[in-house]
């Protein structure tokens, strides 16, 4: 057991899989010699050499296109798109090419690959370098979408993503890179499509992802301590496939549900989860399902402004307290 940063967990997860399978190759901008702009891939070039860990030009379409072509023909590429926001410049591969190839060819073409990228705010990078882009990915049948909230989940979900025969969008949270957590020694392989109940509770269910998981947990502590409200916290981890059983199970128990999302309000992942719950757990609900999100505005750069936008522990506590005590 070692304490690892989320950042180092990325390199460890990739290394674990590259050591296991020489068909795993890794490409992206500044990922090799420089070890990544977030320093999350330090050491991989040295360990696996320049044929397997390759720096690319600033050509995101070429990066994802090449990853797709390599995956179709037998390799298992990991492609880095530095900031999540840059998926927009290579979105055709995310939306049209990679997810649809298998279906359109009636199963002839396979795309086992991982696209990893750093999303999320809190670093004062402004509106184009801070987005949570889960909702840019999860609407395409054929893709899988995960986002870990802790170092151990980074390693385990990375391994699961690389081993998965389908294309996986892997969103790391930039705000978590410096955070630490215990990671067991030896091989770690997690399972896609599984949510985790991180805290048991009886009064309400809080569903969160990425950095918001930590705020949800902190909010739950405060709700318990200050208001006697017992909140269950679900780390959804995998948006596609999504573990609706765990979510619906929790809602059946608590009767109230809150999602905590970093993205701007409209059509974030919470809308899908709330819609599923409203349809399938309607009669379990004791009150409206509520989405706690960033307001529907671009993210400002200045520190104080940014902090007012992204859901804070205070806001989560206050929203839930008000809903449950009114």
């Amino acid at each position: 057991m070692a304490e690892l940063t989320y950042r180092d967990a990325v390199a460890r997860g990739i290394a674990q899989e590259m050591a296991r399978d020489e068909d795993v190759v890794f490409l992206g901008e500044d990922i090799a010699k420089a070890g990544g702009v977030f320093k999350a891939t330090v050491g991989l070039l040295e360990q696996f050499g320049p044929l397997r860990v390759r720096d690319t030009p600033i050509s995101e379409q070429a990066i994802l296109g090449a990853a797709m072509g390599a995956a179709m023909t037998g390799l298992k590429p990991i492609a880095e798109i530095m900031f999540a926001d840059f998926l927009a410049v290579c979105y055709d591969y995310v939306a049209n090419e990679i997810p649809k190839a298998r279906y359109m060819t009636n199963g002839q073409v396979k795309c086992p690959l991982v696209i990893r990228f750093g999303g999320g705010g809190g670093l004062r990078f402004g509106a184009q370098h801070s987005q949570c882009v889960e909702n840019w990915c999860m609407q395409f049948p054929g893709l899988k979408v995960v986002s870990p909230s802790s170092p151990v989940d980074v390693v385990g979900l990375m391994a699961a993503a690389v081993r998965d025969p389908d294309p996986v969008m892997f969103m790391e949270h930039k705000g978590l890179y410096a955070t630490k957590g215990e990671v067991p020694d030896g091989e770690i392989v997690d399972t896609l499509g599984t949510a985790k109940i991180l805290r048991q509770g009886t009064d309400c269910t809080i569903i969160a992802l990425g950095m918001m998981v930590h705020r949800a947990l902190a909010a739950a502590e405060r709700l318990a301590a200050e208001f006697g409200i017992s909140a269950e916290v679900v780390d959804v981890r995998s948006l596609v496939p999504i573990d609706t059983q765990t979510i619906l199970g929790s809602v059946a128990k608590t009767g109230r549900v809150f999602t905590v999302e970093e993205n701007p309000r409209v059509l974030g992942w919470g809308a899908e989860i709330v819609s599923i719950i409203a349809d399938e757990a309607f009669y379990d609900l004791d009150g409206p399902p509520i989405r706690i999100t960033s307001p529907h505005i671009p993210l400002p750069a200045a520190d104080l402004l940014e902090d007012m936008v992204i859901p804070s522990v205070d806001r989560v506590v206050e929203t839930i307290r008000r809903a449950l005590t009114s």
């Binding site: 070429a62 797709m68 090419e97 009636n106």
Partner: protein
């Protein structure tokens, strides 16, 4: 503009660098493509093919010349105008027509349609309908060949209009710096959909004049002459297999039909089509074969064989069942199904 091939007066030696067998193969490929696509056109007007479809009538020499220079294991990436390249790699006519007709005997059982013909077993790694998308993808396939040292080469076909989209530029730079075994073949048929390429392009030769921007040689070939295409591809493949990186080839040609089935091609200047029809690749190739001493009978026999294949394929497709709904939910994910939740 490429020059017309010259037919010499007396039979030339059959055993030149190409040879009779290869030439007969290329002839057969061209006729197969022509007849199969004519048939597709007919079926369209009989309302047996729905949706859209993009024919290569007049452009057959490129598909044939390239395919004849390829080996088993080599890979092709085509566009929505990809029936020709798919057939050229040996995919049965029936499977192509079946896909166009949405029948259960189609290449992808109707799930992909005309614009996405794919036959991995023949090295046809897909037909791509979003302009430019497949150039980077072809780089990836070539990367695999390089990494695994398979010696396979990858060909990527695209049109003149495609040279103005960003992915074209990214793919070329990428292929050059990684020295990938990929050959980019631009079929310059003078038009994007309805707009002449010259009206929207900063250089005369949309592909060749951009070669130097990525340190590549400027290569232009007569795309209506299968021999010329075959020769230039052999050189490019040799280079790729030797580890010397990619090539970019601009093949000059013309499509006889409209852009897609809906297009009567009224935007063309009068007489343009007629001029190009004089240089019909199959006509050119017949003369070529004659100059090498191949007889009309030999050719007629091939024509008849092809026609029978196309006729039989048509009947088989008409008789084939439409695809049943049980494949609707298969192969979204690798587990065979479509489950996105538990």
């Amino acid at each position: 503009m490429a020059k017309s091939p010259k037919a010499s007066a007396s039979p030339a030696p059959v055993n030149d660098d190409i040879g009779e067998d290869k030439r007969l193969e290329m002839y057969r490929l061209q006729v197969t493509i022509r007849e199969a696509e004519q048939r597709a056109n007919d079926l369209f007007f009989q309302n047996l093919i729905k949706g859209t479809s993009h024919l290569s009538l007049g452009q057959e020499a490129i598909a044939a010349g390239v395919a004849a220079a390829m080996k088993k294991g080599d890979l092709s990436f085509c566009t929505y105008r990809g029936h020709a390249h798919t057939l050229a790699r040996g995919v049965p006519v029936e499977k192509v027509l079946g896909e166009l007709m949405g029948r259960d005997n189609g290449l992808m059982r109707g799930k992909g349609g005309s614009m996405h013909l794919t036959s991995v077993e023949h090295g046809v790694m897909g037909s791509y309908a979003i302009i430019g998308a497949h150039l980077p993808i072809a780089c990836g396939a070539a990367w695999k060949a390089q990494y695994k040292k398979t010696g396979e080469v990858t060909v990527c076909f695209f049109g003149d209009g495609t040279t103005n989209i960003g992915a074209f530029h990214e793919a070329l730079n990428f292929a050059v710096i990684w020295k990938l075994p990929v050959v980019f073949v631009c079929e310059n048929n003078l038009y994007m959909e309805y707009t002449p390429i010259s009206e929207v392009t900063s250089v005369e030769h949309p592909a060749a004049d951009r070669a130097s921007a990525n340190g590549l040689e400027r290569i232009i070939v007569d795309g209506n002459d299968a021999d010329a295409v075959y020769r230039i591809m052999r050189t490019a493949f040799d280079k790729a297999r030797a580890g010397d990186g990619p090539s970019l080839i601009e093949a000059l040609t013309y499509r006889h039909s409209g852009h897609s089935r809906a297009d009567p091609a009224k935007y063309r200047p009068e007489g343009e089509l007629e001029e190009w029809k004089k240089r019909d690749p199959i006509k050119i190739y017949k003369e070529r074969l004659k100059s090498f001493g191949v007889t009309e009978d030999q050719m007629a026999k091939i024509d008849a064989e092809v026609m029978k294949i196309v006729d039989d394929a048509t009947e088989a497709c008409k008789a084939a069942p439409t695809t049943s709904s049980d494949i609707l939910f298969t192969d979204v994910y690798a587990d065979g199904g479509w489950a996105w939740r538990n």
